[in-house]
């Protein structure tokens, strides 16, 4: 019953659909949990703390540790964010304040197309074009001259590596981060622009001051970009090299959680525990993604840049 004594039938008609969505989400979580239980019983939390992939016909010999994949996911996503940071801020500032008027709209449309482009398109381009390009122009020269630095210490044999995945992800998430930063920057009241220029600031100085005012939106944009990067599957799995490996070197191949799932699931059902191990990996991806995204959304909402 409502306050004034009538029943809001409309609300009760819609409510089941809402609850269905909540139920769906809860069911997903429940499925990941229950499907992960066998591996937890088999080896406990070692699934997350070790790097191993021992598949065997004999269940007692099976042992899985997805640390390499978690490491690779975080490593490549951090790389992506590091690439997206300067690009997305520059793009937002340039498009709003400095681009010639006729270029503004086309530039924004271009990034919107990038944000929506099917990820498999990035994948095929990454595997056949970007990886050879990076290997030839970046990895080989850096390895030849700077291999004493741990970051460059791995000999780039194929080019499939953390770096390739990080760069590809960076290209993919930049438009997305930039859209959030752009909206916040655009909505800065004009009076602050007037204030800083009236004090005799150059455009460089003015931009520096104005950008500081939207720091929360930048943080949120990059968090959400990180969330996208860590959840991306097919594009990454085509360029990361799919190797159980924990290396600081940018040129080493590796795994990410999602590419591990994509790669191993096909034959996982032959073994007793592998499916469960992959679900446990999915569970960790679920929580990392959820935490990062909720944080990003809350920051946006709190500082009034909510979408």
């Amino acid at each position: 019953m409502g306050k004034d004594g009538y029943i809001d039938t409309f609300k009760y008609f819609l409510l089941p659909f809402c609850l269905f969505v909540f139920g769906l989400f809860a069911l997903m979580l429940a499925v990941y949990f229950s499907a992960s239980i066998p591996i937890f019983k088999h080896e406990g939390l070692k699934i997350y703390t070790t790097n191993a992939w021992i598949a065997s016909e004999n269940p007692n010999k099976e042992f899985y540790g997805v640390l390499a994949a978690i490491y690779g996911s975080v490593y490549t996503s951090v790389l992506a964010v590091l690439i997206a940071l300067p690009l997305s801020i520059s793009f937002a500032v340039f498009v709003i304040d400095y681009a010639p008027r006729r270029l503004k709209e086309p530039l924004i449309v271009a990034t919107d197309v990038m944000a929506g482009l099917p990820t498999i398109i990035y994948g095929i381009w990454g595997a056949f074009v970007l990886v050879p390009l990076l290997k030839k122009c970046v990895m080989d020269p850096l390895y030849a001259h700077f291999s004493f630095i741990p970051l460059f210490s791995f000999k780039p044999v194929t080019g499939y590596s953390y770096l390739s995945a990080g760069v590809l992800l960076g290209i993919m998430v930049t438009p997305f981060a930039s859209a959030i930063i752009r909206e916040a920057y655009r909505s800065l009241p004009f009076m602050y622009r007037e204030a800083i220029y009236s004090l005799g600031a150059t455009r460089y100085e003015a931009t520096k001051i104005l950008i500081k005012q939207i720091k929360p939106a930048i943080v949120a944009g990059l968090l959400l970009a990180f969330g996208r990067a860590i959840g991306e599957t097919v594009a990454v799995s085509l360029v990361i090299g799919n190797t159980f490996n924990i290396s600081p070197s940018l040129f080493a191949p590796g795994y990410t959680i999602s590419s591990l799932i994509a790669n191993q699931f096909g034959n996982a059902f032959i073994y007793k525990y592998m499916v469960s191990a992959l679900f446990a990996a999915g569970l960790s991806l679920f929580f990392i993604g959820l935490a990062v995204n909720i944080l990003g959304i809350l920051i946006l909402r709190r500082y009034g840049h909510g979408r």
Binding site: P189, Y192, E194, A195, I196, Y197, S198, L199, Q213
Partner: protein, 271 residues
């Protein structure tokens, strides 16, 4: 109070005096377009040094737009176009770098706009730091205090200089904006309806400040209120639909307006 202190010379005397003075700002056939819209139509105006000069008129007459031409702030908006010339102390502002113009001609806005993410101190220090007007921290401290005293804000913020500016009241924020400008020691300060968003007590404080400021510099204040123009200004220009209707000493114009439009505006039949 301010009116009473003014010497009541004849109209001719006042205009003669105006002509003899060095001009802080002079406009020559100033035309401003906003897209296709002709906002300011052929204004010729000479603003003497060290006076308070009010530009009044009903809202939408182009006052604020014209004011922003004086420090080249209009350029922030791509769709505006300026024709004619504006001279600051005899020098065309279009032959100067906009940064130099804005250092000489400071501005206070309608909405108090200190940077909310910066401290009170940093807000005042901002222009000084940007323009590298100070040698060291000690000098900076000294000028910040001096400017805050000039803006009659020092006593109120002395103990919270490093608190964010957003913690101040609207009236205090506006005085902070005045301190921010004063700190750079400009020769002219433009004020765009500086009290229109403030309560009467804050308004009075700001008006007293304006009176103090003119001892050292020129204040050009835009207002839609004839009463405020009468209270604070020595000279006044009446702008209507982008055209300069009348200009002269405040006393004369209020006692004896020459144009019928002016009289209608002053007596409240318009605006």
């Amino acid at each position: 109070m301010i009116l009473a202190e003014k010497d009541r010379k004849s109209e001719e005397d006042a205009l003669e005096k105006m002509a003899k003075m060095r001009h802080a700002i002079e406009t020559i056939d100033l035309n401003i377009y906003y897209g296709d819209h002709h906002v300011i139509k052929g204004v010729n105006l000479a603003i003497p040094e060290k006076v308070v000069f009010a530009i009044m008129g009903p809202s939408g007459c182009g006052k604020s737009t014209m004011l922003r031409a004086f420090n080249r702030l209009l350029e922030l908006n791509e769709s505006t176009r300026v024709e004619g010339d504006v001279k600051v102390f005899g020098k065309s502002i279009f032959k100067m770098n906009p940064i130099e113009v804005r250092r000489t001609v400071g501005m206070v806005f309608q909405h108090p706009n200190p940077f909310p993410h910066m401290s009170i101190y940093d807000n005042v220090a901002l222009g000084l730091k940007l323009n590298k007007l100070v040698k060291d921290r000690k000098e900076l401290d000294r000028i910040v205090e001096w400017a805050l005293r000039k803006a009659a804000l020092w006593e109120e913020v002395e103990n919270k200089l490093h608190k964010p500016a957003s913690a101040l009241s609207g009236g205090q924020q506006q005085r902070l904006c005045i301190a921010r400008v004063v700190a750079m020691k400009p020769k002219v300060i433009l004020m765009d309806e500086p009290t229109s968003n403030l309560d009467p007590i804050s308004t009075k404080k700001i008006e007293e400040l304006i009176y103090e400021l003119k001892k050292e510099l020129t204040v050009v204040i835009v207002t839609h209120s004839p009463a405020q123009a009468a209270r604070v200004s020595d000279y006044v220009a009446f702008l209507y639909l982008g055209k300069l209707v009348e200009v002269g000493s405040t006393v004369d114009m209020f006692e004896n307006p020459k144009e019928k439009l002016t009289e209608e505006y002053l007596t409240g039949r318009m605006g």
